[in-house]
């Protein structure tokens, strides 16, 4: 029983990092209706910048964090310009494939910059366990949870209490209508993209700091987790992304303790596959309307 709760708590904490990744994914998908598969690699680019600075220039953890976030934001801008801006509303697949191509670029660039597979990453705080009753929490995991909650809260505030957030919500709801009422949609989408990349940078920093290392596999890993978490929670829904991340973390932790890391990954992908084939995009009623809308769009 204690194990069960411990695993669940661990899962929630790991899930909070997934939630942040999913949040960034969702912000981009919600505003652009397209998947950014270079999302994880964008974060990784920032993390590599941070590692480079820390190892070669000896910079401390907090400035590294800033570097990671800024780096991710800048690379995000590059992705937005190359893979998303040139395409109109319809070309969903083109952006997705293009972002995959950029993923290839970023992964190779990272390997060129830091040829070693494993690179040390400065920890932010100790990973020493804190005991609370019969349960143990790693301090850095706890920090992750707190930061994720704060970021989620800030994003909520931004979305619902700022003009920018209002713009984002209108673009998510109906881009053409937003354009027609004068919302600067291109700028909003670009800003949302940069915001999403920055959030990813925060998550990336905390994850890498917690692991104490960064490898070129991080890009793929982050994209995978963000994607699965977002789909679990319901494509394009902000609260869904957060919930999906937490759920994925919990499921994974239990799966790992029962079956080991490979089956854990198998289940994560299997979950995505199941959600896609049986419950794509959520509510039942929207599916028929979505089909009619698809017919309409082609007419």
């Amino acid at each position: 029983m204690i194990d069960l709760i411990q695993n669940t708590l661990d899962g929630v904490m790991i899930g909070s990092s997934y939630a942040l990744l999913a949040l960034g994914f969702t912000l981009i998908f919600g505003t652009m209706r397209r998947l950014n598969l270079a999302y994880g690699p964008t974060i990784m680019a920032g993390a590599y910048l941070g590692t480079y600075a820390s190892l070669r220039l000896g910079i401390g953890a907090l400035p590294v964090a800033l570097l990671v976030i800024v780096g991710a934001a800048l690379v995000g801008l590059y992705v937005e310009r190359l893979c998303f801006r040139p395409f109109g509303e319809g070309a969903v697949m083109a952006s997705m494939i293009s972002s995959f191509a950029v993923w290839m670029q970023i992964e190779e660039a990272a390997t060129l910059a830091m040829p070693r597979h494993l690179n040390a990453f400065p920890p932010l705080i100790t990973s020493a366990p804190i005991a609370l009753g019969p349960y143990f929490f790693r301090a850095d995991h706890l920090l992750m949870l707190i930061v994720a909650a704060v970021v989620a809260g800030l994003v909520y505030l931004a979305l619902y209490h700022t003009r920018f957030g209002l713009g984002v919500r209108t673009v998510i709801d109906h881009r053409r209508a937003a354009e027609l009422v004068g919302v600067p949609t291109e700028r909003i989408m670009m800003l949302a993209f940069v915001l999403a990349s920055s959030i990813g940078g925060i998550a990336g920093f905390l994850i890498a700091a917690g692991d104490g290392q960064i490898t070129p596999m991080f890009g793929m890993w982050a994209t995978t987790k963000g994607l699965i978490a977002m789909m679990l929670g319901g494509l394009g829904s902000v609260p869904g992304a957060l919930l999906g991340g937490l759920a994925l973390g919990v499921i994974e932790t239990h799966a790992q303790s029962l079956f080991g890391p490979q089956v854990r990954d198998l289940i994560a992908w299997g979950l995505l596959f199941a959600v896609l084939t049986f419950w794509p995009g959520g509510l039942l009623g929207t599916r028929r309307i979505a089909r009619a809308a698809a017919v309409q769009r082609r007419m």
């Binding site: 309307i289 009619a292 017919v295 082609r298 007419m299």
Partner: protein, 241 residues
């Protein structure tokens, strides 16, 4: 009866696009379909071709209930359709656009059928041109050739003269009268009264999914229902005292 629509109702979310619509068409006849934008004309075509399932009602074609049939099945039964905005395979040649999906006899026979359709619409010389290199008028004729090649029993045309000038409109009307009318039934959506008058002995007025009137074109255009559907009810100004 070639086509019979019984009590068709279609709802999209909260909006009723079609309301208990009844319609029938005898073989070889042509029917005009008019009404303001958003009154359900295109939805009606979508229901007949099978792209949209009605919430209630039936579509009966040549005695068979095709309400829930698959789109490709309905097409193979002999219902052809053109679109308001041109819809072709842009990167395929004119000839490949016209060639039917289902085999029509031997390859030699099929080539003849395709050739005949192209000649009828006047595009035989352009048979190897890519579809998106044609002019708008030529593309409209290509759509008609595509319909003709399948020798359909029923053709549904959705504003075929949209975007054409008056000379091109007259040419297209002549083409429809010469090539389509003699061979199949026709339901024609159009906003231009002269086009309807030239091609259809009867016309139906739709407003907000409801069949308001069914009458010969001349009578329809003169009716109060026609005027209020297209122009709305004219509110009398309050007299100034």
């Amino acid at each position: 009866m070639l086509l019979q629509l019984e009590g068709l109702t279609v709802r999209f979310g909260g909006v009723e696009a079609l309301r208990a619509l009844d319609l029938s068409l005898a073989p070889g006849h042509s029917l005009g379909l008019m009404g303001p934008n958003g009154c359900g004309k295109t939805t009606l075509f979508n229901v007949i071709s099978g792209l949209v399932r009605p919430d209630s009602g039936r579509v009966v074609f040549r005695g068979d209930d095709i309400t829930r049939s698959a789109v490709h099945d309905i097409a193979r039964r002999g219902i052809a359709r053109t679109f308001q905005t041109i819809r072709l395979f842009p990167q395929m040649t004119v000839r490949d656009n016209v060639r039917p999906a289902a085999a029509q006899g031997s390859p030699g026979e099929e080539t003849q059928i395709v050739e005949r359709a192209l000649v009828q619409v006047g595009l035989a010389a352009k048979r190897d041109t890519l579809a998106d290199e044609l002019s708008l008028g030529e593309q409209r004729r290509l759509e008609i050739a595509r319909a003709l090649a399948r020798s359909p029993h029923l053709v549904l045309m959705d504003e075929p003269t949209a975007g054409l000038d008056s000379e091109e409109t007259d040419e297209l009307v002549e083409l429809i009268a010469d090539a389509v009318l003699p061979a199949s039934g026709l339901i024609l959506i159009e906003h231009k009264p002269d086009v309807i008058a030239a091609l259809c002995p009867m016309a139906v007025l739709l407003d907000q999914g409801h069949k308001m009137t069914e009458a010969p074109p001349a009578d329809l255009f003169a009716s109060e229902a026609f005027r209020s559907a297209y122009l709305g009810v004219i509110v009398r100004p309050v007299p100034q005292s």
